[in-house]
Symmetry: C2
Subunit: 253 residues, 2 copies
């Protein structure tokens, strides 16, 4: 039986990045797509608790089952695995995201929320992101690397509880130099909000912000991307800081 | 100068748990509250990107600055730190959540999203949750432990990049036996969605699910809570699985 690949994203079912990913995935197996109906960027690992979900089937291509769901990327993974996949997926893919999910951006990312959910469900999963927000971004230079990673993971699997956060450098910055296995760079966003005044004199605040990552170390994702490599970060859905378990003994608890 | 404590939650500005936490915090310092206007449970680390935010001042108690914001818990932390706190907070508190955020529940939790955001901003932070969804839950038995933890962290600080996920066992299950420093238990949710049919014959899906955590190890939060202890898990906003960095060498990348 061909492998079953479930695909979602956070840019919505109509995004070019999703279409690119499901074309590649169809080379490897049977594909089910369930993606948010519209833009679900920045939804992180959120779930829909206050209203039920609706699902609509969409015709995108011959031989491809595509569902549009009015929930979050995490909702899509849960619901698709439970009700819309004909069998347990061998691999869950998310993306290709239009924009970076490197470093701390993974925290906010709906694309990566879906990946972490798949891991929590015991499934192999990879999230792909391209460092370009252009809705018509050129995904061509990244395709050989995406193909290679999907092939390797389908053949060899991933360590237990581990999924991959894959970011692809911007195509206009020269040919991609290869793949690097990395840890997340430490970074932060500053100047988060811009205050404006509405026509009746009342304030409102737009989320904006500047990404700050000074001198990322050579084994980090930001270094890899800045130097033309595809960054591959092994991630897991456990927030425990294990080293701190000992350090906390100095608090009198 | 008294310490400045910023408080948020995900149950909304009117929740009893928030009121309980700001009463305790006022014993330790000056307090600013910015919380979601309504229920923001399950919003995880999400941010609001498609519309601007509005803020409304609310009178809750003498000497207390309280703001209601129509964004997520993470939005509240970012916006409060940047525009509504008179100085950089010495401590960020989130909760007290009505319901557990132990184990894998942290992934979905808006309460804990706010805590992780504070850590990413370089601030000390603690999230508190009580294992009861009752809007009128009894927070009294947990108060001495909350006081103790706030006092310790204000006095001694936390390790760099570390915050605390604190869960308090259910009051009706006997007196609390103390505090345990724990790692997250591995767990999963199964049977996530319930399918129903609407009055015109169309399907919809409600999020539900059953929490499964078999034989949690003795140093895990689920063990501590099941045995009447307050669980304290040191967490950090880095998803990298460091051990897997080596294991991944077996993939030909």
């Amino acid at each position: 039986m061909r492998p079953l690949i479930l695909i979602t994203n956070d840019d919505g079912v109509a995004a070019k990045g999703l279409r690119t990913l499901d074309e590649i995935a169809m080379e490897f197996g049977d594909v089910v797509v369930m993606a948010p109906a519209g833009n679900a960027s920045g939804l992180s690992h959120s779930i829909t608790t206050t209203r039920p979900l609706r699902v609509r089937e969409v015709k995108l291509a011959e031989g491809l089952s595509v569902y549009s769901c009015d929930g979050t990327p995490v909702d899509c993974v849960k619901l698709a695995v439970e009700y819309f996949c004909p069998r347990t997926p061998d691999l869950v893919l998310s993306g290709i995201n239009h924009g970076s999910n490197s470093s701390i951006n993974i925290l906010y990312s709906g694309t990566m929320g879906a990946v972490t959910e798949a891991t929590a469900l015991g499934l192999n999963a990879i999230g792909f992101s391209l460092l370009s927000h252009n809705p018509d971004a050129d995904f061509e230079p990244g395709k050989p690397f995406i193909r290679h990673l999907i092939g390797e993971v389908l053949e060899k699997g991933l360590p237990a509880d581990v999924s991959l956060n894959v970011n692809i450098p911007r195509p206009k910055e020269g040919p991609i130099r290869g793949i690097r296995i990395c840890h997340e760079a430490k970074a932060r966003w500053v100047d988060s909000f811009e205050k404006r005044i509405d026509p009746v004199g009342q304030p409102y605040w737009w989320l904006t912000g500047k990404f700050i990552c000074d001198n990322p170390p050579q084994r980090s994702d930001e270094w890899a991307l800045a130097n033309g490599y595809v960054s591959v970060v092994p991630i897991h859905p456990d927030f425990t800081h294990y080293q701190a378990l000992e350090e906390l003994q100095r608090l009198s608890l």
